[in-house]
Symmetry: C2
Subunit: 210 residues, 2 copies
């Protein structure tokens, strides 16, 4: 999550659905985690997981034996949500409080990635998203590891983004009140790394230094 730039905040808040890749992709590329839901006999199940976007699809992975993966790899309908919270929106009344966020909702069915190279690439894209610059530094992924892991792709053709930004929308009669209103920006950041005992004498590679 990045803090909304206060200089870019419009004077009125805005919230509407966007269906274009220019709105959707930056949210998917910034968020590390999504929540995937599916239903069996109208009983919903959902699970947070990491994901990566590549071109017009997102990819998740899981163990070949995972119950969740085995259910959704059947190609049943899923709903995937992603949310980045930018600011708490503090109004003069509790009723007008809100949150500035950027979210994406995707309706799709899983496509199981069967092609070996695409599957390998999906793991590479995911690893590079979570820890940029790390793939070539790590012990190379083996064929056995690729085969033990399922990769699922989801089309973004039924995706939409929603964004709320800007200041509170207080009621007209509340605006003159001497009560403070504005934003509490939220910031998520990566902190300096902590070495495992196994790696205490190994230099921290440049891609992990901040």
């Amino acid at each position: 999550m990045s803090t909304t730039n206060p200089y870019l905040i419009p004077s009125r808040s805005a919230k509407r659905a966007h269906h274009d890749a220019e709105s959707i992709n930056p949210i998917l590329d910034e968020a590390l985690f999504c929540t995937i839901s599916y239903a069996v006999d109208n009983q919903p199940f959902s699970l947070p997981t990491s994901f990566v976007r590549y071109e017009d699809k997102i990819y998740i992975h899981g163990s070949v034996g995972s119950h969740f993966i085995r259910e959704i790899e059947k190609g049943i309908p899923v709903c995937i949500t992603v949310m980045l919270a930018d600011d708490l929106v503090v109004a003069k009344s509790a009723f007008s409080h809100s949150v500035n966020y950027r979210s994406v909702v995707i309706f799709a069915k899983a496509e199981k990635v069967e092609d070996y190279q695409t599957k390998y690439d999906a793991f590479k894209w995911l690893t590079e998203k979570i820890v940029p610059g790390s793939w070539d530094y790590l012990r190379p992924m083996t064929e056995k590891e690729v085969r033990k892991t399922t990769a699922l792709a989801f089309s973004l053709s039924e995706a939409s983004a929603k964004v709320r930004s800007g200041m509170p929308k207080d009621e007209e009669e509340d605006k003159p009140l001497p009560i403070w209103s504005g934003l509490i920006p939220l910031q998520t950041r990566r902190m300096p790394v902590i070495a495992d005992d196994l790696s205490i004498d190994i230099p921290v590679p440049p891609h992990l230094q901040i």
Copy 2:
């Protein structure tokens, strides 16, 4: 989200489901947002929203006219997930990468809060969770505002927590490799407030100062 205290990290990672309030409640009380899923004809729908726990229930709110609220207030089965990401777990191989997280999954059916005082209290609990210390400072909530808003409660009787903590679990043959492994802690924090134009000359109250 708080950073995992490196001094408390056990030498081996642990991941299992916990069903006790002592495991579940601190996660629910730290997280500001959850994702709620429901299904109609096995088509899942999900939505991120703010929530608050009070005793053995969580509460959400929404506009009386919201489609989402009107669906789930019928009392159909929902699945609610909450996730706090603490660390990216960087192993010596991509395959052993992981995430340290604390998550809760709740299976429940909405109970519509009809009692006026409980509904009022739910809005107070929610406001005080998002902006601690603010309720008595704000313009008081009106009866009309309470009536325009739906509050839904969900029992925690079918809730479970899952936690992964600690260092990577590299394969035995990878452990001697001269590749750095460890944690990238993630931290989410509230930044200094940004005043609305309406409030530029109003002192920031103590509960909003950091």
